[in-house]
Amino acid sequence: MSAAESTAGAEARTARLERLRLLARSPTVVAGALIVLFWTVCALVPGLVAPHDPIFDNQFETNSRPTWEHPFGTDTNGRDILSRVLAGSRNVLTIAPAATLLGTVLGTLMGLVTGYFRGLVDDVAGRAIDAVMSLPLIVTAILIVTAIGTSGTWVVVVIIGLIFSPVVSRTVRAAVLAETELDYVQAARLRGERAPYIMFAEILPNVMSPVVVEFTVRLGYAIFTVASLTFIGFGVAPPSPDWAAQINQYYTFVDPYWWMTLFPALAIASLVVAVNLVADGIREAYER
């Protein structure tokens, strides 16, 4: 075997490594990843870093401004806000990834089917998707939750997943359309392959890049959506230290107790920004 071919092999293998190296070399991606990692650790083992018990009421130190003892201050029940912020990521970091995963899987399926079959299937599904996408996300979510009467964690996951799937399906469909133009799809048809095999075994592996990109981008939106829904009272309830629940509880006292709202808000912002930094990096690495 010649030298030309072995280098071609080596180059293909390094393509994947190259992408990883590109990610690792970008300071924004690394910073984003570290922040996400930090919040994930906090969600898994909140006691590890929190200086106080997040739900312990201390009647003697209510409404304390930030001090050395309580760097983020305390709330109306005298609970340490730093500890509550550190413990508050669990809810968001459960619901958002689960919802995003659900939305991505559903969306990918829809994208494969509409992109592969086109024609009537695509037209009908396309208009339905248009209709869903035209609905304001939060309002729809409230409507559904009200209609079914419960707002447990998994209800929120399913709602967000369903609402996200049309957006994902649009992106995947576009990629599938481009793939079906390629001759390998025609070759598969000419050897009598059935549609499911062509969609899942032939086309799906080739559209994984947009799927991965779409997942990370959607994750950022999902975090924000989860926080918004929790803020208006769906999902978890006090005394859970959830960020959005905290904001909901104290935003009416922003003046003078600004610290009670500011720090949880910053926490949400930091997670959303961090996820988007990673998402941007991944998109660049995949779309090069």
Binding site: A4, E11, A187, R189, G192, E193
Partner: protein
């Protein structure tokens, strides 16, 4: 003697890939005089385009000139910076690229783009419009005002390339570089563009560097030629000398790969060049070609041969240049051939096939009453310009395109028009090898997986049997065992095409449609793939429907040829008959458009204008608008029938065969103005 316009000396260029400088040009020297046309040939990856980019100072960011000098019109090009460099690029050199579609801005009218090119040079707005008009007239555009008002996508490929050439010449450059300017164009259009370049060069005395992989084009266009291999100029000299008395084994090998001078598969195998081009930036001791050269000895492998003068103005970089023509063949000459028996039932017969596409509310007929047959073990070649219906016909047989009229029979039984309705046996019988293996192979699947799946579906074998069959199949198309575990991206173009061929043969097909299977490949690889196809045919008695725009290739591989024009069959007959004539005036024009290495011989006929629109085809004989031998009214008013002019030779022309025979022996009249 005046100084040359282009003077490149010991140019060394490297590309920086993952932190390592990989040399691409290794000390290239050449000169081009005013009014001279210099051809640069070689296979892909040998550095042709890099040389051009270095000269116009347009190397990609990771490309670096590491040594040597480039002077254009006496100026040291490599020392130019900033404003001077822009001035040089704007006024002194011009470059025309392969794809005119991407060289023009799709959002702007042609006129404003030409005007912009002129205002950059300092022309006032009003004056620029006038000069744009002149520039377009100079490239023989019949109606410049109308063309200026159009957008690029409204022009044909040949017309676009004329516009690009007009812009390149507007500044009256000292040096014009053409990088594969006609590669994507039909032979008839290519001929027109080449004629134009020759004409303009005579008029303007520009120095021209012409880059092409097509030796026929080089033979037609150039005074001198340089042969590049792995970034080294291995041979240089007058075109005649280099192409007819090559003195470097690489040039000899390259010339032997090309099917020409009427060679046919039954005369023997095409020769190939063994091995592969060294990988980018590989360290090479001794002669760059020694790895693949049958004449190489120890000296060649350790010591780099100097460029030696072997004739007047003719240099070769080889110790054995005297013996170059004695280079042993890489391929044995003999080739077993199955003879074609046309007495029984044809394998495939198609009758009255028609296909009408609907586009923007218009009916566009792509095939009109095409009939023919393919017998077991024979190759039917399909030729015609783009839009002639070659691919539609092939796809109608496969059932990918659903014909609107007519029927297809396989061994006497009528086939369902759509492949979805065909039985597994029928699917297995008709397979295809596509033009572009990158698109035809799933880039996420290993070669093993590709072959196993084809075997499971078409060969109906699985498990250990399938593994064994896959290995056999791979071996049959000369893929090494290691290839099986690799993915397409890890393979070269030729190897990928072998995988695609192996896949098509997984189920013992009876007819394989080959849709330009070698046009994306270099000539040495093309020769190997053609040999493989011919071997498989001799071994298994498979038939081919072979589509190619390269008439040399079609003639080599085909037993019979069908000539299509605007979806109509104009001629069908044995390959030698169709090529040697007397033939249809359209066939005559197609053949005469092809630039050949051997040149001369045939009188050149040029087709005027573009192929008419298929949605409103000309009345009478569809070819009458461009026919150099039209009889006038009869051709304009009545469509000639497809007559059998000799046994098995069909032709659709009003001119009697004897008249064609007589007139084709003499030069043709000039074509009528369109």
């Amino acid at each position: 003697m005046t100084a040359p316009v282009l003077d490149v000396a010991n140019l060394e260029v490297a590309y920086r890939v993952r932190g390592v400088d990989r040399p691409v040009l290794r000390g290239v020297s050449m000169t081009v005089d005013r009014g001279e046309s210099y051809g640069l040939v070689g296979e892909s990856g040998c550095g042709k385009s890099t040389a051009a980019l270095a000269v116009v100072r347009y190397l990609p960011r990771n490309g670096k000139v590491q040594g040597g000098s480039v002077a254009v019109a006496g100026r040291d090009v490599l020392a130019l910076r900033g404003r001077e460099l822009r001035g040089y690029q704007a006024r002194t050199v011009s470059m025309v690229y392969q794809n005119p579609g991407t060289a023009l801005n799709p959002a702007l009218r042609v006129g404003s783009q030409v005007v912009e090119a002129l205002t950059v040079l300092g022309a006032a707005r009003g004056e620029a419009r006038e000069r744009a008009h002149e520039a377009l007239a100079r490239v023989q555009i019949a109606d410049p005002a109308m063309v200026m008002h159009r957008y690029p996508h409204q022009l044909s490929g040949g017309m676009q390339q004329r516009v690009v050439i007009a812009m390149a010449l507007a500044k009256d450059p000292a040096l014009l570089i053409l990088d594969e300017p006609t590669t994507g164009l039909d032979a008839t259009v290519e001929a027109e563009v080449l004629d134009l370049v020759v004409h303009l060069q005579r008029e303007l005395h520009t120095a021209v560097v012409f880059i092409s992989h097509n030796l026929g084009v080089i033979a037609r266009m150039c005074d001198r030629v340089g042969v590049l291999y792995a970034g080294r100029l291995v041979e240089e000299g007058p075109v005649e000398a280099v192409l007819h008395e090559p003195r470097h084994p690489y040039t000899v090998g390259l010339l032997r790969c090309i099917p020409r001078g009427g060679v046919r598969k039954d005369h023997g195998r095409l020769d190939t060049i063994p091995g592969f081009l060294p990988s980018l930036g590989a360290r090479l001791d001794g002669c760059v070609f020694s790895d693949r050269c049958a004449l190489a000895d120890d000296r060649c492998r350790s010591e780099e041969p100097p460029l030696e003068t072997v004739g007047p103005g003719h240099d070769a970089r080889c110790f054995h240049h005297r013996r170059a023509l004695e280079l042993p063949r890489a391929e044995a000459e003999d080739l077993g051939r199955a003879t074609v028996d046309r007495s029984g039932t044809p394998l495939v017969r198609f009758d009255g096939l028609g296909k009408v596409f609907r586009q923007h509310g218009h009916d566009v007929p792509a095939l009109v009453e095409v009939a023919g047959a393919i017998w077991p073990g024979e190759t039917l070649g399909l030729v015609g310009e783009s839009g002639s219906g070659k691919t539609t016909l092939a796809r109608a047989l496969l059932g990918i395109v659903h014909p609107t009229a007519g029927r297809v029979e396989l061994e006497g039984r009528v086939l369902a028009p759509r492949f979805q309705k065909r039985t597994r046996d029928e699917l297995r019988a008709l397979q295809i090898v596509f033009q572009n293996p990158d698109s035809a192979l799933n880039r996420r699947h290993s070669v093993r997986r590709i072959l196993l799946r084809a075997l499971a579906r078409l060969g109906e074998v699985s498990g250990d049997d399938a593994e064994r069959r896959a290995a056999e199949l791979a071996e049959r198309v000369r893929l090494s065992e290691r290839t099986l575990t690799q993915k397409p991206v890890q393979l070269s173009g030729g190897l990928k095409q072998r995988v695609a061929i192996a896949r098509a043969f997984a189920g013992e097909p009876k007819l394989v449609v080959c849709d330009e299977p070698t046009s994306a490949l270099d000539v040495s690889v093309q020769a190997a793939i053609l040999n493989l196809l011919v071997e498989l045919q001799a071994e298994r008695g498979v038939s081919y429907l072979f589509i190619s725009h390269d008439l040399g290739v079609v003639r080599y591989i085909s037993d019979r040829i069908a000539v299509l024009y605007l979806g109509r069959l104009l001629e069908l007959g044995l390959a030698d008959r169709v090529f040697d004539g007397p033939h249809h005036p359209y066939t005559e024009a197609l053949l005469s458009a092809v630039p050949t290495i051997d040149g001369g011989g045939r009188d050149r006929i040029r087709l005027a204008g573009d192929v008419p629109s298929a949605s409103s085809p000309p009345s009478g004989c569809v070819f009458h608008t461009r026919c150099p031998r039209t009889l006038g009214r009869v051709c304009e008013e009545s469509e000639p029938p497809l007559r059998e002019v000799a046994t098995g030779h069909l032709m659709r022309c009003h001119i009697p065969l004897e008249e064609l025979r007589a007139s084709q022996a003499q030069p043709a009249a000039t074509p009528p103005a369109s």
